[in-house]
């Protein structure tokens, strides 16, 4: 089932194959995520490690069972299920109960991907579908953050991590507000340097902007990631939050804070760039990134939630087919667009 779908170019034939396979791409993305994963485990200790292992394994297992039951060829060899699981784990709070992680992983793979026909047919980023399901199901657990660099993080794992299936997790006494929540609800800003190196509390893999960017640069260098998408998102966030900040500097945070806080970096580099759910055309990519950036700013500053990257990317995914069609190139010699409705 290996396909060279990366070689889809919006030009008429003849085409030239790059000889890349889905497996290679997915594996490279996972390699790029390894530093972020390592930092996550170093920052949050045992709980984060257990959570990441659980989500990754559950995703792979779910896909395997699904293909077995449906009497299809197994697709877990393409590494995409493992990547979905890893990404899902990285977007969840470190002390998230494992049983909820399992449910999120199953929803990611089944509802986010397999129902649509498997990899390449999904409309939304599977990991974010799983996270959105968890956000709507367990609003309290998914906004309970544990403290970064707790001294005993390697000896013990948070009691909420090991909550028995279907039971309410015990909330640990110490919980750290994320920089975004602190900004939204108490108007406290965090030093950008701390955000950059990941010394704050937050979702498992979102805290260290520098490692995420390094991973992104590696992928961009290998041409496995469209560098325009993260750049467009960041420019758009900087622009729109800059407008808010200039209008009322005492009410709204500065653009640098907006860029480096929350899941923006992780989302922009690893989620929005998902090849299946982002537009194919060069212009479309800019529109897509700009739209996501605008939505992030609107949700964060004007909405009821402190963080909006997940919903912004999901909405961006929903717009992808439309953007692709709007910006499709003309077929040579005709007046018809390559991706038209007809």
């Amino acid at each position: 089932m290996k396909s060279n779908y990366l070689s889809i170019v919006l030009r008429t034939s003849p085409h030239l194959s790059r000889g890349l396979s889905v497996e290679t791409v997915m594996r490279q993305v996972i390699y790029a995520l390894l530093p972020v994963t390592a930092m996550a485990i170093y920052t949050f200790g045992q709980s984060a490690a257990l959570l990441l292992i659980t989500t990754t394994l559950t995703c792979v297992l779910t896909e395997w069972i699904y293909t077995r039951l449906g009497r299809q060829e197994p697709t877990i060899g393409d590494w995409s299920a493992a990547l979905t699981g890893l990404l899902l784990g990285l977007t969840l709070p470190p002390a998230f109960p494992l049983w909820m992680g399992v449910i999120g992983s199953i929803v990611s793979i089944l509802v986010g991907k397999m129902i649509f026909g498997g990899l390449g047919c999904n409309i939304f980023n599977p990991a974010l579908v799983g996270r959105a399901f968890l956000q709507a199901s367990f609003p309290v657990a998914i906004t309970t953050w544990s403290e970064a660099f707790a001294p005993d993080r390697f000896q013990y794992c948070a009691s909420s991590t090991l909550a028995a299936p279907f039971l309410r997790p015990m909330v640990d006494a110490v919980s750290g507000a994320t920089p975004l929540a602190a900004m939204k609800f108490s108007h406290q800003t965090t030093i950008v340097g701390d955000l950059f190196f990941g010394l704050t509390s937050g979702s498992t893999g979102e805290t260290s902007a520098v490692l995420i960017l390094l991973g992104g640069l590696y992928l961009a260098w290998r041409h496995l990631l469209d560098w325009r998408i993260p750049l467009a998102i960041m420019l758009s966030v900087a622009l729109f939050s800059g407008i808010f900040w200039l209008a009322a500097p005492d009410r709204y945070p500065d653009p640098l804070f907006m860029l480096f806080s929350g899941g923006l970096m992780l989302g922009a580099v690893f989620m929005a760039t998902d090849m299946v759910t982002s537009p194919l055309t060069p212009l479309g990519v800019w529109i897509y990134g700009g739209l996501i950036g605008l939505l992030v700013v609107v949700i964060r500053l004007l909405g009821g939630l402190p963080e909006g990257v997940m919903y912004a990317i999901l909405l961006g995914n929903a717009f992808t087919p439309l953007i692709s069609r709007m910006t499709g190139t003309k077929v040579y010699g005709t007046n018809r667009k390559l991706l038209s409705w007809k």
Binding site: P139, V140, F185, G304
Partner: protein, 223 residues
């Protein structure tokens, strides 16, 4: 059958529709006639239960209607009147007053009934009569025991001029309640909590001065 193929005359159509409508009307009238007494009883029962719930310890209550700034004992039925329910204990002493209030919530209008104790000058209980708040989040305004705790002694003292509350009812962030006139909001249901606080404040600002002014009338109403 033959007639059908030619098309039906208008007269037949009108006759059928009129016949069916008459039949429908008849059925509905029968249903209304048959159920109205029970429905009225149900509604009265529900309101009665709610009044007893928000005014614990009363043994009877009487309905007064609000006219301008006077309170008049309501005889019989009056659908449109703004009603207050005055609760008395066994010795016919006034124990408390139940007031209905409503205001815009997160999803739709929230209607509540709250009990006011004139001797404590405080709200002593609140019951949500109607709400369409989000299940699981906003509906905590009537399922959350901690939130209900706010209304067991909510200070609504009037100021010296007896026209306003000395301290308007305020909703504060969860865990920051310091004064007896503050309501501790529910985490995750801030908008619904604030809506309840706002509608209580509005109603109390408006009705309590009138109640205090007419206390003598109400005291005597129990006999």
């Amino acid at each position: 059958m033959e007639e059908r193929e030619k098309g039906t005359s208008s007269l037949v159509m009108i006759r059928t529709l009129a016949g069916i409508s008459a039949l429908s009307g008849l059925l509905i009238v029968v249903a209304v006639q048959a159920t109205t007494p029970t429905i009225k009883l149900n509604k009265a029962e529900m309101l009665k239960k709610s009044v007893f719930e928000v005014l614990p310890g009363i043994s009877s209550f009487q309905t007064f209607k609000l006219e301008d700034d006077r309170l008049i004992l309501l005889q019989g039925e009056d659908e449109k009147a703004v009603k207050l329910f005055i609760g008395y204990d066994q010795d016919h002493a006034l124990k408390g007053i139940a007031v209905e209030a409503s205001g815009q919530g997160f999803a739709d209008v929230i209607r509540v009934l709250y009990g006011y104790d004139p001797s404590k000058q405080a709200v002593i209980a609140m019951k949500v009569l109607e709400s369409k708040e989000t299940p699981g989040l906003g509906d905590k305004i009537y399922t959350d025991a901690n939130f209900a705790e706010n209304f067991k002694a909510l200070d609504v003292k009037l100021d010296s001029s007896h026209t306003h509350l000395a301290n308007p009812i305020e909703v504060v962030k969860h865990g920051e309640k310091q004064n007896p006139w503050q309501i501790d909001a529910i985490t995750g249901a801030t908008i619904s909590s604030k809506a309840v606080g706002k509608l209580l404040n509005q109603s109390a600002q408006e009705k309590l001065p009138i109640i205090v002014k007419n206390m003598d009338t109400l005291q005597g109403g129990g006999r």
